[in-house]
């Protein structure tokens, strides 16, 4: 008879605990949906504001004080120039460093320090890279507020990301491949060039594309080195002053008039489409890479 109330209490408590468990589950579910709902609101807000200005003229016109005449031609060319030069500077150095760390580096304290240093560099805020670029490239070397200064700054910014991604890709190459090459008398570099790099290439390419797409959206360091907000001409060479898509967007978004906000949204649509294309290529490469393994 004494057992009855205890099990009764347990049963009552169990019902409560089950209820709590259900509520908890729904809370977790709601939390994961929050991010997705936010993403939806963001896209909806941008497309509903920006679609009205989407036109061929928007792509081919230069920035203007009059919203209906304004376009992003100079910003697009600026972004293309900047990204091209950034790729030229950062890819060989980034891949080179990762090859060195994975294939050639001895295991000692110095290399350990370099590795810690690279992961810390990846955590340095991007404005700080802007200050570095301002002091070294713009002032000290005297490249001025040019595309080259911007590209060099951007290269330093994305180098740690390229190195980390490329090292991951090189790590997945099986050692048997290396031994086979070495056994046939290849030198270390012949082994790397002929076997390791080709089979790590899809992974490396994915990392490079993702870092470049990060650089395309990056604004702060370029503002610090002095990229301009209003550039009504296309850059002719690497020493010209420039603007890029996100800076043009920032410029429009920071004006009070609602018309310019709509232009900013249109600029964002273009930027997002470019990023979407680059990410699709990266996902495609990753998929191909995985299915081949």
């Amino acid at each position: 008879m004494t057992k009855e109330p205890a099990s009764h209490a347990y049963a009552k408590n169990l019902a409560f605990r089950r209820k709590k468990a259900r509520v908890f589950k729904y809370m977790c579910f709601a939390a994961s949906m929050f991010g997705l709902v936010f993403l939806f609101c963001l896209f909806y807000n941008i497309f509903s504001n920006g679609l009205s200005y989407v036109s061929w003229d928007f792509i081919t016109h230069f920035p203007s004080r009059f919203p209906h005449k304004a376009g992003i031609q100079s910003a697009i060319w600026g972004s293309i120039w900047l990204m091209g030069l950034t790729a030229i500077f950062s890819i060989p150095v980034g891949v080179g460093a990762s090859v060195y760390l994975e294939e050639f580096a001895p295991k000692n304290t110095f290399i350990k320090i370099i590795e810690i240093n690279i992961s810390n560099l990846a955590g340095v805020p991007s404005v700080v890279y802007g200050l570095l670029g301002l002091a070294i490239f713009v002032r000290w070397i005297g490249l001025g507020r040019s595309i080259v200064s911007g590209a060099l700054t951007m290269s330093l910014l994305i180098l740690p990301i390229i190195i980390i991604a490329s090292r991951e890709a090189i790590k997945t190459v099986p050692d048997s491949l290396r031994y086979a090459a070495l056994a046939l008398g290849a030198t270390k570099w012949q082994m790397v060039r002929g076997h390791v790099l080709p089979s790590a290439m899809p992974g490396i390419m994915t990392g490079i594309i993702l870092s470049i797409s990060r650089a395309i959206g990056e604004t702060a360091p370029l503002l610090v080195i002095g990229a301009l907000g209003f550039v009504p001409f296309n850059p002719k060479g690497p020493m010209d002053s420039f603007t890029v898509l996100p800076i043009q967007i920032f410029n429009w978004a920071s004006r009070p008039q609602i018309e310019f906000h709509k232009l900013a949204a249109t600029g964002i649509i273009v930027l997002l489409v470019v990023l979407l294309m680059m990410n699709s290529i990266a996902i495609f490469l990753r998929y191909k890479f995985q299915s081949r393994k």
Binding site: K20, A21, F24, K25, M27, C28, A30, A31, S32, F34, G35, L36, F38, L39, C41, L42, I46, V93, G96, A97, V99, L101, F104, A105, I113, I114, I118, N120, L121, V124, P125, S126, V127, V128, G130, L131, L132, L134, A135, I136, R139, L159, P160, T187, W189, Q190, G217, T219, A220, L223, V224, P246, I249, A253, H261, A264, A265, I268, L272, L275
Partner: protein, 294 residues
């Protein structure tokens, strides 16, 4: 054999120099930031900088107290943590404990889109969507306010917490969960009382990283939070973060060598030290409190 080795020397040198560049970058950052800052501190005392409550370098009388910028930065960083930590951790619990592999393979990439969107886009969204929304709820909200900046930065860093915490919780061995179930615990009790504490080191490390990223975040807070160095704890007012100050000064024409120009680097070095400290802290938390189950 020897010939080909000799021929490869330039290649080896290039690879080594590429690696060395990362060290040179760090040295250059430290050198540049400290060099300009030292010139600044010859004019302004460190005491005034750290404890001063007014930041007005751009107009007379100039004051160089960095506390208003610090409070603006902290308001954004802590506010973003209020958004990102509960949502990120609960999302991680959902992904690692509840969601099927199929649902997880949808949610995770979708959330990662959030961290791939350029920050200037978040700034635009804060300005044109979040702030008007806040204004409906709190009519006293100003056009530029810390709250909208904190919310979007919180969402921006949410995927980082969700993803890293998910990894940490998934590496908790299954037999710990099974032991909990064998004792009659519900799934929520297992998740909250067994898996969560067991993965705490990874979760905390991800939180510290997210806060560090929020401190260094620039464009979203510049657009959303404004440019008023304001020693306040009211999130509905306009504030200025350290990063937003750097942008504000860069947009104007500041002659090289002036005290205003050097404030860029002083704020830069402060930012660099704070984020570096946070990154080391995250690493430390991960190492020190990691539980091993091998």
């Amino acid at each position: 054999m020897r010939f080909s080795r000799l021929r490869e020397l330039p290649v080896h040198t290039f690879l080594f120099l590429s690696t060395l560049l990362s060290v040179m970058t760090t040295v250059a950052i430290v050198f540049v930031l400290f060099k300009e800052s030292l010139v600044f501190f010859r004019e302004v005392s460190v005491f005034e900088y750290i404890f001063g409550t007014q930041w007005t370098p751009l107009f007379k009388p100039q004051h160089f107290g960095f506390l208003p910028l610090l409070s603006g930065t902290l308001l954004i960083a802590l506010g973003s943590a209020i958004v990102s930590v509960p949502l990120g951790v609960l999302t991680a619990i959902y992904m690692s404990e509840y969601a099927s592999a199929h649902i997880r393979s949808w949610i995770k990439p979708l959330l990662e889109i959030l961290s791939g969107i350029p920050t200037v886009v978040y700034g635009y969204f804060a300005l044109t969507f979040v702030t008007p929304l806040l204004k409906i709820i709190f009519p006293s909200t100003s056009v530029f306010n810390a709250a909208s900046g904190a919310i979007v930065v919180g969402v921006m860093t949410l995927p980082m917490i969700a993803s890293l915490s998910d990894d940490a919780m998934r590496s908790v061995p299954q037999n710990l969960r099974d032991a909990g179930y064998a004792l009659g615990a519900t799934k929520a009790e297992v998740s909250a009382n067994i898996v969560f504490p067991a993965a705490l080191s990874g979760i905390l490390a991800s939180v510290v990283l997210a806060v560090s990223r929020a401190i260094g975040e620039t464009m979203a807070v510049t657009l959303a939070a404004g440019a008023t160095p304001n020693l306040t704890l009211n999130p509905l007012e306009s504030v200025q973060t350290m990063t937003a100050y750097i942008v504000q000064l860069s947009l104007g024409d500041t002659p090289h060598g002036t005290l205003e120009y050097q404030t860029l680097f002083v704020i830069g070095v402060t930012l660099f030290i704070i984020t570096l400290f946070m990154n080391f802290l995250s690493e430390f938390v991960l190492r020190k409190y990691r539980q091993k189950y091998d």
